[in-house]
């Protein structure tokens, strides 16, 4: 009985961020001695425990005092390796070694084609089409190593990458034609879903794991951007310093630093996001909280301006692409706030703001599609236009049904998990569409 109570008290303490496990041990030892002293003075065990806990002090003020003393603990430091208390960091260190090894491999892989005479200047198409193949298989390998995967999954993954390699290179693309550019842009999307299967281990069917992959992707993007910015500063300083001694680093930068760094950084950023998991708060939902109201206001103002001035959306050749981007951003904002929302939390004003955002985006997009539909037959179906149209439709369907589910949730007729499940189930759609663009479009449009 007493042990249970002490354990429960310990777990309350451990939940406090400012109080680490070593401190909890110290405090528990103190509590035990206090209880022993009180029992010796004649109290029953229960009474002694209650008195001792009261004497220990109110947990909130206690953790505040600890926080004041150990204020650095409130800034959760990412400890990659032995955590406080000397817990074994062997597995973390092994993971770090593997991650760095794979990053080096990716850097080497991107330079290998040069041995076969394919340089970046002369065959930019080759590198553009295959860029994801230099690093994504290694990333998938990292996850397969880390989480394990059944033999069937491994065979499927290998087959997917081989097929991607084949389709990226076997088609007789016209250099820098639309189909080649589209294939180069869409192959990474398709392969990213394949990496997701590796990420899930053998649990791709589990909606929760797919949502984890979505969260991972968001954080990876943010970390990658931060690393890229840091890399930019690094390169800038390097250029200036070497220029002072008369050496121009541009060739080194173009041929070695940029390609190897950009690809290696993907592996390193993935490793960092995996290491931090939930230790450090996810940044993506924080950014969405910030930008959702801004975009909602923007779109409402846009709609208001359109109705007020009577100006419709004028047709432009690249109109669809702009609206694709808009839908993609709105979907991203919606997706990442869904990823961070506690399904059991009550409805709040932020939910309503998201509905406003999604609905206004749908309205704006509908108007754009209307404008385009009228002119598309005259202009003909080019690969770019068909791809943009397809993407628009995909995003539109996703957002429309999401809006319906969200409104149903807000009216209490549907649990929030229905919305989560819709988003995670929709993931393969992006992969399939990207695969279609890579595999079907080039022969369909004659490789132009």
């Amino acid at each position: 009985m007493l042990e249970e109570q002490i354990e429960r008290w310990r777990s309350y303490l451990l939940r406090r961020q400012a109080i680490h496990s070593v401190d909890v041990e110290e405090l528990t030892d103190h509590l035990r001695e206090q209880v022993a002293a009180l029992v010796g003075a004649g109290l029953a065990e229960d009474e002694a425990f209650l008195v001792a806990v009261k004497r220990m002090g109110d947990l909130d003020s206690l953790s505040r005092e600890f926080a004041r003393e150990h204020s650095d603990r409130l800034w959760k430091q990412l400890v990659v390796g032995p955590a406080d208390g000397g817990e074994p960091g062997a597995s973390a260190r092994r993971e770090a070694v593997v991650a760095f090894g794979l990053a080096v491999l990716a850097a080497v892989a991107v330079k290998l084609p040069e041995l076969f005479g394919l340089t970046l200047d002369e065959d930019p198409g080759f590198y553009a089409r295959n860029v994801s193949l230099f690093v994504f298989p290694l990333l998938a390998g990292f996850f397969v190593w880390k989480r394990g995967a059944g033999p069937a999954t491994r065979r499927w993954l290998a087959a997917a990458f081989v097929a991607a390699a084949v389709f990226a290179n076997v088609y007789p693309f016209r250099p820098e034609g639309s189909t080649e550019i589209l294939a180069a842009m869409h192959l990474p999307i398709a392969l990213w879903i394949v990496v997701g299967v590796a990420y899930a281990g053998s649990r791709w069917g589990d909606a929760g794991v797919r949502m984890d992959f979505i969260r991972f992707s968001g954080e990876l993007f943010i970390y990658y951007v931060l690393i890229a910015l840091g890399g930019g500063v690094f390169t800038g300083l390097m250029a200036v310093l070497f220029q002072a001694i008369g050496i121009d680093i541009e060739p080194f930068f173009e041929r070695w630093l940029l390609p190897c760094g950009a690809l290696g950084a993907v592996v390193i950023a993935s490793w960092l996001v995996e290491a931090k998991q939930s230790v450090i708060e996810n940044m993506a939902p924080v950014l969405t909280r910030l930008f959702t109201p801004l975009f909602a206001i923007l779109l409402i103002a846009y709609l208001a301006t359109m109705t007020w001035t009577g100006r419709g959306i004028g047709f432009q050749r690249d109109l669809l692409i702009a609206f694709d981007l808009l839908l993609a951003v709105v979907l991203g904002l919606l997706l990442y706030s869904i990823s961070a929302r506690d399904p059991r939390a009550p409805r709040n004003v932020f939910d309503w703001m998201q509905i406003v955002l999604v609905v206004s985006a749908l309205l704006v997009d509908a108007m754009a599609l209307w404008t385009i539909a009228a002119r598309i037959s005259e202009l003909g179906f080019t690969p770019n236009r068909v791809a943009a149209l397809g993407e628009n439709v995909i995003l539109l369907v996703n957002l429309a049904w999401s809006a319906v589910l969200y409104v149903r949730f807000l009216r209490g007729r549907e649990p929030f998990t229905a919305l989560e499940r819709w988003q995670t189930n929709y993931l393969p759609v992006y992969g399939v569409w990207a695969a279609i663009v890579v595999v079907v479009f080039p022969p369909l449009f004659g490789y132009i």
Binding site: V22, D23, E25, E26, L27, D29, H30, R32, E33, Q34, A52, R55, M56, G57, S61, L62, E65, F66, R68, E69, H70
Partner: protein, 134 residues
Amino acid sequence: MDINKDLVAASSTPLVLAILADGDSYGYAILKRVRELSRGRMEWTDGMLYPVLHRLERLGYIQAHWEVSESGRRRKYYRITKRGRTQLAEEREQWQAVDATLRGIWSALALPFSAARELLTLTLTPAPALCPCR
């Protein structure tokens, strides 16, 4: 008598350092000693002792090491360092300066009867030795 929080906070450092100067100790024992020394008038909230100990450790006045107690569990013991002894001597000087000033003015003021009795008992009863100068 409830002692002002600021007084308790200010006196915690010299008190803990002095107790540790007497010999190595651990949290619970330090707390017991404080209660003994103040004759029950200073009742610290048990848990609050530990942030104080951690701050003193961070400042380098005390050092911690883990030992196995009689009950078989690990217990964190504290030991005063040289810097701690220097700091203790300094705090002692400061407190004695403040004390001398206050005593001076209190003896000059006309005080109500009960307070005068308190003052008399304090000055006449010998306090337990707290001298760190072994």
